[in-house]
């Protein structure tokens, strides 16, 4: 069985130690997500159909559902528990629902995805 890719920090963004490599972009399904276990709880890392990547705390603002398990479309994900739709870019529930999900800065370089986990996530 494949081991998950761990703590792969490379030189590119690795010059800045804040950026933590979490694995290859190819390991995240298009219109899907993978989970990264972080110090403050699970982080959902999404990949959209146009290969944009977003990282959000894996908790729906409604009842705490794991957003990483939802259906991804456009730049949004539908929570698997009660179908709230979360805008990945804004880190917020789509109207008329209200609520925010903390976001983490993401970069993709040479096919590797990096997260910046310093301090508090962006509100």
């Amino acid at each position: 069985m494949n081991e998950p890719v761990r703590e792969r920090v490379t030189a590119a963004v690795g010059a800045d130690p804040a950026w933590v490599g979490i694995g290859p972009l190819a390991a995240i399904p298009v219109r899907g997500a993978r989970v990264v276990q972080g110090p403050g709880g699970d982080i959902a890392v999404f990949r959209t159909s146009d290969d944009r990547v977003f990282a959000l705390l894996d908790r729906c603002p409604h009842k705490g559902g794991p957003l990483s398990q939802g259906i991804v479309f456009d730049c949004r994900v539908a929570c698997p528990l009660h179908n709230w739709v979360i805008d990945l870019e804004a880190g917020a529930a789509c109207a008329p629902d209200e609520g925010r999900v903390p976001r983490f800065p993401v970069r993709v370089e040479d096919g590797i995805v990096y997260l910046d986990l310093r301090g508090r996530p962006e509100p």
Partner: protein
């Protein structure tokens, strides 16, 4: 930025602005929009003029779009400037004051004009029509100073005007030419009840009365009838009908008949010009109600935005009278002109009259007086052409009496307390829904769902929410005739499936492209539906798209509220063995499963398994010969059995053997919604087969096959499909039934509502009467099963390709 195209809208009323709103939602930047309106104000809700006249609402309450609304959207509004000419060659319009505007596309929404009878004295002061705010202001001024009013016309508008003036303290006489009031909407008994009720409110009503002249020097003082009677009047309201306002279009040379003639895309004979609302004539019909106009606006906006190929195919309309305290509803062939059966309930003393016209077991019309709480239900049955053969004898008593367990009595929505809970799933009460409808200006079920969450989960309160909409909005409520699959398309489920089959569409992107999906990624509603339709249409050929499945089906386990999963191994026919039980117990202990529970379908549920451990749990179960129970899917789930003739002293048939054979035949099939089956060995029915999607009951001579039961939110007992002699026949009917359901039901539609929609008679015809058809369905089912019956747990427990779904990508920090 390239120059935007110019859209000019003539008419600042409900039809024109609804189209603009729909257009802005689809393509906010496509056009520079200019609106001309003859009235000097923003867009208001014309339907609510009656309550304003009656004093139930103020003018501010009925404004839909104030001037800021136009400014915020960059729309140029010329309020109070009437367009007098369209120059089609130069593509410009010109208003009475000389204002000109060029257009690339032109939308006509000029509405209609009140008919003014060509009577002597029709131009006297104090003679008004009832159409716009200015008319209402004139009437209110007259009501303040005068005493007596005569309303000519006893139709919908005339009676609303008469009621309003009566409420303002005038003595009102209604003069009506026909034999009964509202003869275009009501039959004679309902009209008689209405007359009695209006007379009790102090209105005087003269039927078969023809107006001959309006008398007075400058100001009207009396109305003379053809029989010589004179009625004193300080105010005369002419409410004898409306006619489409087409003068402008006709002068511009556009083809007009009664209205401006449009095709199914709302386009006139000039392809740059569209027309919507009361001025448009579509398939020989003009409409004077709001619901059709909203449907037209949607289609027209689609075409103006270049995003779709939806078509408007006409509307089924209904009428409600907005007179406080009078409940009145009418729809369809209420006079029964086409020779159907009339089901009638009449209680003259109680002031209640209900007539439902049924033709060929379909509702074709209805008149309700005094109690219209089931109006939207009858209207829905009529629009959807639902087979009512099985519920005819209870039809008149309303939806609460057709086996809709758990909701009886909740339907008197008007009488419901504001704190009464409507949506049990999301905890939404009546008051919240009504407040949302009025304060946020909601018009449709979808909007109420989005804003309040009511009716957005199990859907069993949909009827009540629709009634609240109808109650709160009156005639404004527009129930869509056929619902599109989702917001990404205008096509219905059926149209999408047909397109997939007829055009050989074999992938999701191909299907969305071909059907011009508004959103190339789709959404969480349509992607699973399309994935299923493609899977069903092309067995073995279509490549399942995991990212378009709900998590339960992608992970082959049920997600729980804490994000863990439950695992339910298949126990064929509910018959197990010590070895299987021991293996399940070992797995539960070894993986420290927090909870073990017996399910209603005779299975064992292992609850609380973290996602990353699922493959290992499955592997361990596989080794004991246990496979996926599909308890997580829109799929064939369980066949529940009783012990049957092998052990039971009452048993007449071997139910366990048949149950196991049915489950071996059907497992692994994806279906529009979950499917549960049951086999009882005798009519005592210990396996509760009569609340299953398909239930089989052993009788002395063989087996009874029952279909369409449901034990969920709406309990529904099965109906008998047929009786057969052998197990082999049961298997063939079962496979054929499932295949028919798979091929024809809408995604997420259980067998019970599906059968209610198409009628049991249809299912019987396809399965019982047409032997060749049944065999063909069965053959297609077997063919599909050959490719579907592969244990998804084994595939994932063994293949490393799948581990990505189950393991975290990394651990950091």
């Amino acid at each position: 930025m390239s120059e935007r195209e110019k859209l000019v809208v003539i008419g600042n009323g409900m039809a024109g602005m609804r189209t603009v709103e729909e257009l802005l939602a689809l393509a906010p930047d496509r056009y520079r929009i200019t609106v001309f309106g003859a009235e000097p104000c923003g867009n208001y809700n014309r339907i609510l003029l009656s309550p304003v006249l009656a004093g139930d609402k103020g003018l501010q309450d009925i404004l839909l779009n104030d001037l800021d609304w136009y400014a915020e959207r960059g729309i140029t509004l010329h309020a109070g400037r009437e367009v007098t000419a369209i120059d089609r060659a130069r593509r410009r319009v010109r208003a009475a004051d000389g204002t000109e505007a060029p257009y690339d596309r032109l939308l006509l929404a000029t509405g209609s004009l009140p008919v003014v009878l060509p009577l002597p004295g029709a131009d006297l002061d104090g003679v008004v029509t009832f159409r716009d705010i200015a008319d209402v202001e004139r009437m209110l001024a007259a009501a303040a100073g005068g005493r007596r009013a005569v309303v000519i016309g006893g139709g919908l508008l005339g009676l609303e005007a008469a009621n309003g003036l009566g409420r303002r303290g005038m003595e009102v006489t209604v003069v009506h030419l026909a034999q009964s009031l509202m003869e275009r909407q009501l039959d004679a008994p309902a009209a008689a009840l209405l007359r009695r009720s209006l007379e009790a409110r102090g209105l005087r009503i003269l039927l078969e009365a023809q107006t001959e002249a309006l008398l007075g020097a400058e100001r009207v003082r009396a109305v003379r009838l053809a029989d010589g009677r004179e009625l004193e009047a300080d105010l005369v309201v002419m409410a004898v009908g409306i006619r489409p306002n087409i003068a402008l279009a006709r002068d511009a040379g556009l083809h007009c008949e009664r209205g401006v003639v449009v095709d199914d895309t709302l386009q006139t004979f000039d392809p740059r010009i569209y027309a919507v609302g009361e001025c448009a004539q579509h398939r020989k019909t003009t409409y004077g109600l709001v619901a059709p106009l909203f449907e037209q606006a949607k289609v027209c906006a689609n075409h103006l935005a270049f995003v779709g190929c939806t078509r408007y195919t006409g509307s089924v309309t209904s009428t409600r009278l907005k007179v406080t305290g009078v409940e009145l509803f009418s729809a369809g062939d209420y006079l029964n002109a086409e020779g159907g059966d009339e089901l009638v309930y009449q209680d003259p003393a109680g002031g209640i009259y209900k007539k439902v016209v049924v033709r060929g077991n379909r509702v074709s019309g209805a008149v309700l007086y005094g109690d219209s709480s089931d109006a939207s239900w009858y209207f829905q049955l009529m629009r959807e052409g639902t087979d009512v053969g099985e519920i005819r004898e209870r039809l008149l008593f309303g939806q609460a009496h057709v086996g809709d367990a758990g909701h009886g009595g909740a339907h008197a929505v008007a009488a419901m307390d504001d704190a009464a809970e409507v949506c049990g799933c999301n905890g939404v009460c009546k008051g919240e829904i009504v407040r949302a409808i009025t304060s946020k200006g909601l018009f449709t079920l979808e909007e109420v769902r989005a804003h309040t969450k009511a009716s957005s989960s199990c859907g069993s309160c949909t009827g009540i929410v629709e009634q609240l909409l109808a109650l709160t909005l009156g005639g404004d409520y527009s129930a869509p005739e056929v619902k599109p699959l989702c917001g990404c398309t205008g096509f219905t489920h059926e149209e999408v499936r047909r397109a997939i089959a007829e055009n050989g569409l074999k992938t999701l992107p191909e299907t969305m492209r071909f059907l011009e999906w508004r959103n190339p990624d789709g959404c969480q509603a349509c992607r699973p539906a399309l994935n299923y339709y493609l899977l069903c249409a092309w067995p073995g050929e279509y490549r399942d798209d995991g990212q378009s499945r709900f998590i339960n089906e992608r992970a082959h386990a049920n997600i729980q509220r804490d994000g863990t999963y439950s695992v339910v191994p298949r126990i064929w026919g509910g018959v197990t063995s010590p070895a299987e039980l021991r293996a399940i117990a070992d797995v539960a202990e070894r993986f420290e499963v927090p909870a073990v529970k017996l399910t209603g379908g005779q299975r064992i549920d292992l609850l609380g398994v973290p996602k990353e451990r699922l493959p290992a749990v499955w592997h361990a179960l596989n080794q004991a010969g246990l496979v996926s129970g599909h308890a997580y899917g829109k799929a064939v789930r369980t066949v529940k059995t009783c012990v049957g003739s092998e052990w039971c002293r009452f048993g007449t048939q071997d139910s366990t053997t048949l149950g196991i054979r049915m489950e071996k035949l059907c497992w692994g099939a994806w279906t529009p919604h979950k499917v549960k089956m049951g086999v009882s060995g005798c009519p005592r029915n210990c396996a509760e087969a009569t609340i299953k999607d398909l239930g089989v009951i052993g009788v002395d001579s063989g087996w009874e096959i029952q279909v369409g039961g449901n034990g969920g939110v709406k309990v529904r007992a099965t109906e008998l499909l047929c009786r057969v002699k052998t197990m082999e026949e049961v298997l063939e009917y079962t496979g054929a039934f499932l295949q028919l359901y798979r091929e024809e039901a809408r995604y997420l539609e259980r067998t019970a509502p599906w059968i209610e929609r198409v009628g049991l008679a249809y299912v019987r015809r396809r399965l019982v009467e047409e032997d060749d058809g049944r065999r063909a369905l069965y053959a297609r089912f077997l063919d599909s099963q050959r490719r579907a019956q592969s244990d998804p747990w084994a595939e994932r427990a063994q293949a490393p390709a799948h581990t990505g779904e189950f393991l975290p990508l990394a651990r950091v920090g």
